[in-house]
């Protein structure tokens, strides 16, 4: 028995099976994972690892375990999507931990959260003073959503009665020295216009540009390969290997 060869073949089976199942299951972003999704991912990964290296049992039995976990995960996802009630039971629901500026001690106790945990989550949201918070909700994925008191909200253009043109999403029009004509056409511009803009910045060819983006508001960003920076600023605080 060529153990290395068998492990190699099993690794291929486990890798691509995992990839396919993850593509089917993994619609949600990592940051949106609930605790159960996290455990599900770890378990499926662990079964795949055992499938690869545990030669004392057949690959088939591990693979059946893998597909069963993936199928159950998919079933849970489907049930949560179809029934709000099931979703609440399985995924939990958002819990208000600060209401009208007051900490809900009972809710915290129920969720086994300490006030210090809430303060940590608030700081990660750039809130260092709890008195700024009107409402804080712990989401099923463990993240904290915060609504500040009106007096601590950032001033918006609407508050100042200022009209701002919509900037839209910027699109790449040159990427790695290559012109992306489709994006340029979508923004209703042509190559002649772009070359004119490049010439104004002292650029004679598209190949000199590393990245150029343009938004609907007409704001053009250009970064050349040659940045004319002799010594980049070093932000490290001690000498490292590089």
């Amino acid at each position: 028995m060529h153990e290395g060869l068998v492990v190699f073949v099993r690794a291929i089976i486990a890798f691509f099976s995992l990839l396919i199942f993850a593509r089917i299951l993994g619609k949600e972003q990592i940051s949106q994972l609930t605790f159960f999704d996290y455990v599900l991912g770890i378990t499926i990964g662990s079964i795949a690892a055992t499938l690869t290296t545990d030669l004392t049992s057949r690959a088939w039995s591990h693979w059946v375990g893998l597909i069963t976990w993936a199928a159950l995960g998919l079933l849970m996802e489907y049930m949560c999507m179809k029934s709000r009630y099931v979703a609440k039971c399985l995924e939990g629901e958002p819990t208000i931990v600060i209401m009208n500026g007051k900490i809900m001690e009972n809710a915290l106790k129920k969720m086994e959260f300490r006030v210090s945990d809430v303060l940590v989550l608030l700081r990660s949201k750039d809130i260092f003073d709890i008195s700024e918070v009107d409402f804080a909700i712990i989401e099923p994925n463990g993240q904290l959503s915060v609504l500040k008191k009106p007096e601590y909200e950032n001033v918006k253009a609407k508050d100042l009665n200022i009209q701002k043109p919509a900037s839209g999403i910027s699109s790449e029009i040159i990427y790695d020295g290559i012109l992306i004509e489709e994006n340029l056409r979508q923004l209703k511009k042509d190559k002649a216009w772009l070359m004119d803009q490049l010439k104004k910045k002292g650029i004679s060819s598209v190949s000199e540009v590393f990245l150029a983006t343009l938004n609907k508001g007409g704001s053009l960003y250009i970064d050349k390969y040659d940045d004319h920076i002799q010594k980049p600023l070093d932000v490290g605080d001690f000498k490292g290997p590089y």
Binding site: F16, T56, A59
Partner: protein
């Protein structure tokens, strides 16, 4: 066409994996004339029972050769332990035949047969 490929490639890949993992049912054989493990074991059992030790030795050689062939093609769908246990049984059988030890030879043969049945099950 693109949608078809996006769906067909994973389905084909999974089907291929299942085929490789369950291939023992048809790779267990016999596929050629000289890789019938069950028949080889039965032959050696008969030889040992009748005390034909030279014939038993020759048939153990062919059993060993057949086993090497089958183990090679079954390794992706069978358990390592069962394969190793079967190989050990053949080695012990050789010793028992050399010493003309009927009871030990029969024990090893029936154990080998049990391993053969269990491989890839």
């Amino acid at each position: 066409m693109r949608t078809f490929l996006v769906r067909a490639i994973p389905i084909f890949a999974l089907a291929l994996f299942v085929l490789v993992m369950l291939s023992n049912s048809f790779l267990k054989g016999p596929i050629t004339k000289d890789d019938d493990i069950k028949e080889s074991i039965e032959k050696v059992i008969d030889n040992v029972k009748e005390g034909q030790w030279e014939e038993a030795d020759r048939n153990t050689d062919s059993l060993s050769k057949a086993w090497k062939k089958v183990a090679h093609r079954m390794q992706f769908s069978a358990e390592k332990n069962e394969i190793e246990d079967f190989t050990t049984c053949i080695a012990r059988l050789r010793g028992a035949i050399q010493m003309q030890d009927k009871s030990n030879a029969i024990i090893e043969l029936y154990e080998a047969y049990e391993h053969w049945v269990d491989i890839g099950k």
